[in-house]
Symmetry: C2
Subunit: 338 residues, 2 copies
DNA sequence: ATCGTTCGTGGAATCGATTACACCGATACC
DNA sequence: GGTATCGGTGTAATCGATTCCACGAACGAT
């Protein structure tokens, strides 16, 4: 593959001049510029990004470490991150942690070794030493969706508290009183917060959240299935199951169906995270929708601000309730268009 | 960040010795080795992958350019590719082409600039000059899922012909005679092949595939919706719609529902590509399942073989039919467990 | 005519690694 | 005892870019 030397030789100038043309430095004669450009064209020359990065100490690359690519929420997040990064002149390398701290560390280490300019993380655990070191060492880091308390890093996330209150009010209005939740891992902020918000919302309606109605999940479909089975085996099963993410909701749906029960007639179901498929399930699932695309874009902007020396800002956007049919229907509502 | 020089100074040896220890070259004394290792530990030294790549002309990185990350099929493919690559000591950079040739080119160029060791592509179009140049220039390339005819590059893909025959036989046995297809873009091999296989299978059952029963889609949900509406407006609408991918099937489902019609009672639906969500839609959707994980792994193995100088092999694996309820039920079948 | 700028350019250092080559001391062999 | 061999080590070249510095030419001001 042609290097800058070949271009210089072909154009009859020095490598310095070629480099100046490539980085459109002002002091190059029009004459030299056209000769260099012609040589570039003739040789099909493309600058070696590796060499350039070594010299400039910039890779124009962002690392994104997410908890689970197979989760449509994170897929969409990854997509919006890549789009915004591209618009700002950066590439993105995605690392999938699969909700495993060891894999998360593997990817963080790998990205750091490649000298990415900044790191976008949705942490799987309470904070690996590796990541804390990276932050301390001055690597630009921004947390997205989840974060690690006590670490001084901008956070871009959705606040679901109001939406959860709306959901609980909706459920209460439909006559439901025994509400259960499938929680996410306690090591994640989203895992904790959603339970807290749910409990708080219940209190506001004068309801309790007994321990047996808190099932411990891990944000994967299987755990949703398992926890739901536990709920259904209870002497007094809940009337509603609220899953803290979309995959666990799917597992819950599965478990309910496997018993030959129907949603919402036998048990109601709601989920945190709205995804396109929830419109098409049987029944369509009531969910709390995050502004996923906006979160991804805001996270990239915060990170790039940090990288380029501007003060980065934390961002919190509201989530909102999307009512569908999985919790039953309001008697006052029009039922003609399901 | 500490460099190899700092380590050398700390350990009281030359950089050459440090490098030898790091690459466990045999001729280093035990004494020197332990001193270097101690220095590495003390400084928290990590080799700079950028500098290493420049020198060795290897990045230990694979590029993966896929047609659409939001499509669960490709998400799963990406995941299995990353897993296998990691097992073989490579990282993966994913580029999402979003079914757009210009974006595909952007990512291919970007990956080539970063001097990735090899490229895994599921081409969105008939072959951009850029990619053909790369192949000609000797860049290791492997096509996965889709390919470009006439280019001498290993292909890893699924053969759905038998599964399509099985599907058509299944539909025929259920009494369906008017079968339509939502095709993918003609510029993609999968877009063409699936129509051809469908037509061929119909012939085997003594049926025709009239032009009005071939709708042109683009592998995205919206096109499935649009094409299905067209089918339903026909004076004699089809009894079955077969979507050439999962997203278009979703659009089709949407269009059918919007008319207040029911699947499979009013119209049957089947799809190419099986995804976890098809189990939970209303009704569960009959689909042709590809061995996605296997495809991803085989593609990586082929590419790494090529990179490391072993002869790479093309791989074709069979797809298989998964019957669910979206095409109606066999009267002889047990209906108790839906 | 002389001096000081400005502009365009090339030489060479540099980034952080790998590795060919030279060297040195110790051992082995005749 | 002389020499070939070998293990361990350091020096320096190298990968492909960017960029500091010096230099020469052109030009305007005095």
């Amino acid at each position: 593959m042609a290097s800058i030397k070949d271009v210089a030789a072909e154009a009859g100038v020095s490598v310095a001049t070629v480099s100046r043309v490539l980085n459109d430095h002002p002091s190059v004669s029009a004459e030299a510029r056209t000769r260099v450009l012609a040589a570039v064209e003739a040789l099909g020359y493309r600058p070696n990004a590796v060499a350039r990065s070594l010299r400039t100490d910039q890779t124009h690359t962002l690392g994104l470490v997410i908890s689970d690519v197979m989760n449509p929420y994170f897929t969409e997040l990854a997509r919006s991150v890549e789009e915004e990064a591209r618009a700002l002149g950066y590439s993105v390398i995605i690392g999938n942690a699969d909700e495993r701290p060891d894999l998360q560390d593997h990817h963080v280490r790998n990205l750091l070794d490649r000298r990415i300019d900044g790191l976008l993380v949705s942490p799987t655990d309470g904070g690996s030493p590796l990541m804390l070191d990276a932050v301390r060492a001055g690597t630009p880091v921004v947390f997205v969706d989840r974060w690690i308390p006590g670490v001084d890093v901008p956070v871009v996330r959705a606040d679901g508290r109001q939406a959860v209150r709306d959901l609980v009010a909706h459920l209460h209005a439909l006559g439901h009183r025994r509400l259960a939740i499938i929680a996410g891992p306690a090591a994640t902020t989203t895992g904790q917060e959603r339970v807290a918000a749910f409990r708080e919302a219940l209190h506001a309606c004068g309801l309790e959240l007994p321990d047996v109605y808190i099932g411990q999940g891990d944000f994967q479909a299987d755990s949703g299935r398992r926890v739901t089975e536990g709920f259904l085996d209870l002497p007094e099963p809940p009337e509603v199951v609220f899953a803290a993410d979309n995959l666990m909701a799917l597992g819950a749906l599965d478990a309910v169906r496997a018993r030959g029960m129907r949603v919402p007639d036998d048990i109601a179901l709601a989920a945190f995270d709205d995804i396109p498929w929830f419109v098409h399930t049987d029944p369509p699932i009531t969910a709390i929708a995050q502004p996923t695309g906006e979160l991804g874009r805001a996270a990239v902007r915060a990170l790039v601000d940090r990288i380029e020396g501007r003060p980065p800002e934390s961002v919190t956007l509201p989530a909102r309730l999307v009512v569908r049919r999985s919790c039953g229907e309001d008697a006052t509502q029009n039922r003609s268009k399901p």
